[in-house]
């Protein structure tokens, strides 16, 4: 098979610094394999083997994300399970489904599910792109991780520096050392980076900043614009199931209302049904409904469609009144002293549930929980005001780089 256009791009992991084409081969990798990796080095080797062999079927995930029971399920589905040098053969024998790439969903609705893609359906950036060195901090094998990987494989000049979960605290330094000029991360990732290492982050020569994976609020977009006045700031809406569906580059939260119900060749069709975002896309995973109900709640404000949170977890029933966790969170994030907030319902007598919140404050903040409650009370109905609030010492961050909101 001929090599992809990005074969000469440089990739950097904690154990490798070289081109895709220079990666050590993995010829003994079974042709249908779930590769459960310890780090990005093994992951990119498995990717390269998949690309160059042509007729492989591959699942790549961080080993810690997959429980034994799920691994046994992979084997029963015909995939060998590979952990380092240890190969457990499939318990059901079948030929590899050539070119198939399995992804595990983020699991925000329970145990990660499996969805089927191909390198083609995972490749969403085409055409001439400026040469860049990307930072890839995403969980190995996640949809967003594959987005950076396929970009680097398909276009010359797209180098990648991979960040291991253990390096998340020091990524700004790593990015400085390797001359990163483009970085993609969740809003939680960016919020944490600016809060914890704002001085180092500000030294980066970022030309492209991409946010995705979570609802994006105006405050984090404005803060990034302040630190990087010349960078292109993009918000991407994508999911393992629906693929990359929305890309916004105007620095404003949400997307234009005019994009709804519009038919454009080669672009997904976006619509809203009962307050939920619905996407019909050619880049969706295999076997998806023609119109995928995303489970994300949307609100239309001043001609923009804002994604406010997951429908399943957003609504808090307080004595029969419906409080929106995402709306409360937005108000908290509007406070100048709040750098991060998570809002949820907590079981309470008489009213069933009450709104409670965890917040992280900026260094030197004057606000305390009483002031924040008063701030919310001026902007929200009384049943939506968080009645219990904890101030956390730092932003909690999960392997997916998303916060528990």
């Amino acid at each position: 098979m001929s090599q992809p256009a990005g074969a000469g791009n440089r990739i950097v992991t904690s154990r490798y610094d070289g081109t895709w084409a220079g990666l050590p081969g993995w010829p003994e990798l079974p042709s249908a394999a779930a590769v459960l990796v310890a780090d990005n080095t093994d992951a990119v080797r498995a990717v390269w083997q998949h690309v160059t062999d042509g007729d492989r079927e591959t699942l790549i995930a961080t080993a810690t994300r997959v429980e034994d029971e799920q691994a046994e399920g992979f084997r029963a589905d015909g995939l060998a399970v590979v952990r380092g040098d240890v190969v457990q053969p499939a318990t059901a024998q079948r030929a590899a489904d050539g070119g198939r790439v399995w992804l595990l969903t983020s699991g925000s609705t329970g145990r990660p599910k499996q969805v089927a893609h191909t390198l083609d359906s995972l490749t969403t950036v085409a055409g001439d792109q400026p040469a860049r060195t990307w930072l890839c901090p995403y969980a190995t094998g996640a949809y967003a991780w594959w987005q950076v990987v396929t970009l680097s494989l398909s276009l010359p000049g797209q180098d990648v520096v991979f960040v291991e979960p253990s390096q998340l605290d020091e990524w700004p330094q790593l990015a400085l050392e390797h001359g990163v000029t483009a970085a993609s991360g969740t809003p939680t990732f960016w919020r944490q980076a600016l809060w914890r290492a704002g001085d180092v982050v500000a030294q980066l020569k970022l030309e492209q900043i991409t946010l995705g994976g979570e609802p994006v609020d105006q405050a984090i977009l404005d803060r990034l614009r302040e630190v990087f006045p010349d960078a292109r700031i993009s918000w991407i809406y994508a999911s393992s199931e629906a693929g990359a569906a929305i890309a916004v580059h105007d620095g404003r939260a949400g997307f234009p209302q005019a994009w709804l119900d519009r038919e454009t060749a080669g672009r997904p069709r976006l619509s809203v049904a009962d307050g939920e975002l619905v996407i019909a896309s050619q880049k969706a995973a295999e076997g998806m409904a023609p119109a995928i109900r995303t489970g994300d709640r949307v609100e239309i404000v001043d001609g923009r469609v804002l994604i406010t949170g997951r429908i399943a977890s957003d609504e808090i029933n307080v004595g029969g009144s419906k409080a929106s966790a995402s709306s409360v969170r937005r108000v908290l994030l509007d406070h100048p002293d709040v750098v991060w907030a998570a809002v949820r319902g907590r079981k309470a007598p008489l009213v069933g549930n009450m709104v409670v919140a965890d917040v992280v404050l900026r260094d030197g903040a004057e606000a305390d929980t009483a002031r924040l409650q008063a701030f919310c009370a001026e902007r929200l109905p009384d049943y939506s005001v968080p009645r219990r609030m904890r101030v956390l010492p730092e932003i909690p961050i999960k392997e997916t780089l998303k916060s528990d909101v």
């Binding site: 907590r346 007598p349 008489l350 009213v351 009483a370 409650q373």
Partner: protein
């Protein structure tokens, strides 16, 4: 389980009202509706008590319906802690 004294619960009740700029009167026979201590406020007090005791209490007791005064609230939280 450690318990909270009547005075401690009274202080917490005062804190709930204070965040709304209200004051808890000295007279425990004061009716809750007179001081604007509503169901949301009672619920907040319940969570404060649970947090302080680090345990979940059973607030579904039938006595809950007859709470009308400051004293009723204090009695009720007292009973819960004894249960």
């Amino acid at each position: 389980m450690s318990t909270l004294s009547r005075d401690q619960v009274r202080t917490m009740m005062g804190e709930v009202l204070a965040t709304q700029g209200k004051e808890l009167p000295a007279d425990d026979s004061t009716r809750l509706d007179a001081i604007g201590f509503r169901s949301l406020d009672f619920s907040e007090l319940a969570l404060r008590v649970e947090d302080e005791l680090d345990t979940e209490l059973n607030f579904d007791a039938p006595e809950l319906r007859s709470i009308e005064t400051v004293s009723d609230v204090l009695d009720f939280v007292d009973q819960l802690q004894q249960a």
